[in-house]
């Protein structure tokens, strides 16, 4: 291999790493944003209907910015819409936690706490990314995630300390979701390469902060962290639960039925 082609291939490896890393960030937000939007018109009270729709809007807005950056890194003529609407489940790189069905209100709220604390810590680190576009999107997102953390923590305290029914449902949600939290902090070659390049961040570095923050809220809510050694994984590599395919079928149908339509 000549020096020139070797430089060229390391440049394309870097672009591929960026694309892959940005897809993970964008897909988490797109999929969770869609799951939250399923509450629109169905939340238990009007204020929560509005709150969940607002949070969904923040996430989908962030997803659109991140997928736009991913499309530019890929540089193959696809745009953010093509990435959101024309990929199949195995090409999605979101963590399994965000694709699980919305469940009852307790499942939605507990997942929000788990994800929002993670995303806030991730965003705080990404504000220092060597890529000024990613750093800017992260700086904006951190402000939004602080609201999401407060909103979900507030509700976990209410549900955990509420009635026998709300406490039981909150505990069931914690039990169901806990084994999906480990994947958020599992760093692989993609994360490590992005972190080494100064572009991304290794998620394992804020695992202990996440755990102490989340466990503090759960303890104050009288909720118990299950003793699960096994953690689910696979989403970052495209191995998803059956739920993602069903969700995408609904999310993508308009764009796929009317290619190139605009409104």
């Amino acid at each position: 291999m000549t020096a020139e082609t070797s430089a060229g291939s390391s440049k394309s490896a870097r672009a591929e790493n960026r694309m892959e890393y940005l897809l993970r960030l964008g897909d988490d937000r797109l999929v969770l944003g869609h799951r939250l939007s399923e509450w629109c018109g169905h939340a238990p009270i009007l204020e929560e209907d509005i709150a969940l729709a607002n949070i969904a809007l923040d996430l989908i807005g962030q997803a659109s910015l991140l997928l736009d950056l991913a499309a530019k890194a890929e540089n193959k003529g696809r745009d953010a819409d093509a990435l959101a609407y024309l990929r199949d489940a195995m090409d999605f790189r979101n963590a399994l936690l965000v694709e699980l069905p919305k469940g009852d209100f307790a499942v939605t709220i507990v997942r929000q706490l788990f994800y929002a604390v993670f995303a806030m810590l991730q965003g705080e680190a990404l504000q220092r990314s060597s890529d000024k576009n990613l750093a800017g999107v992260a700086a904006k997102a951190v402000k939004e995630f602080r609201y999401h953390v407060r909103h979900s923590a507030d509700w976990v305290l209410k549900l955990g300390g509420g009635t026998i029914e709300s406490h039981a449902r909150a505990q069931r949600a914690v039990d169901e979701l806990w084994s999906y939290t480990g994947e958020l902090f599992l760093a692989d070659d993609v994360d490590r390469a992005a972190a080494e390049a100064g572009f991304g961040v290794d998620p394992s570095q804020f695992e202990s902060t996440w755990e102490s923050t989340v466990c503090d809220v759960l303890a104050r809510a009288g909720l118990i962290v299950p003793e699960t050694a096994y953690m689910q994984r696979g989403g970052r590599q495209g191995r998803h639960t059956e739920h993602l395919g069903h969700m995408l079928a609904e999310m993508q149908i308009v764009a796929r039925s009317h290619p190139g339509a605009s409104w």
């Binding site: 204020e47 607002n54 923040d58 807005g61 962030q62 806030m120 800017g136 999107v137 904006k140 923590a153």
Partner: protein, 169 residues
């Protein structure tokens, strides 16, 4: 003023008449969305910073900025979106905050500076909320999310009215 001789101040004056579609009492300049303007020939580049990542009003705002400048003779209007530094309500002028209150929306207090998050509602935002109708401080936060991304819902115990609060961000 012709496009060729226009200064940055002239451009800001034109854009000060472009209102936010969701808070029509404030202009895009007063809100701090317009960060910079550079004139080149008969064209102009406007730098904007969105309020929220998913603000649905941003596209309308960009179209309104474009058409306002084109109606003043600018041939080419470039819009450049900048995300850092992130938009903050501290960029709103005191005059803008007065207009908000007169319009019936409690203005934002100072933006929170600490990076740590209090896990329950921000006490600072609760303390500073003044009812825009009767000016009582006997108010409480009902929901930190309101009719638009930038507003929260509060309630005044004195005049028994719900009211909107512009979130400090």
């Amino acid at each position: 003023m012709s496009p060729v001789t226009a200064t940055r101040d002239d451009i800001f004056e034109i854009l000060d008449r472009v209102k936010d579609p969701e808070v029509p009492v404030l202009s895009v300049v007063e809100l701090g969305i317009v960060r910079d303007a550079r004139v080149q020939g008969d064209g102009v580049t406007i730098t904007v910073t969105p309020t929220y990542s998913g603000c649905p009003a941003m596209r309308v705002i960009e179209e309104d900025i474009r058409s306002a400048l084109m109606s003043h003779g600018f041939g080419v209007v470039h819009l450049e979106t900048v995300y850092a530094p992130a938009w903050t309500t501290d960029w709103m002028t005191a005059e803008a905050k007065r207009k908000l209150e007169a319009y019936g929306i409690a203005p934002p207090g100072p933006a929170p500076r600490d990076s740590l998050v209090s896990l329950t509602r921000a006490p600072s935002s609760v303390e500073r909320m003044r009812c825009p109708y009767c000016h009582s401080l006997e108010t409480e936060m009902r929901s930190e999310f309101g009719s638009t991304a930038c507003k929260a819902i509060a309630y005044c115990a004195k005049c028994r009215q719900p009211f909107e609060v512009f979130k400090a961000l």
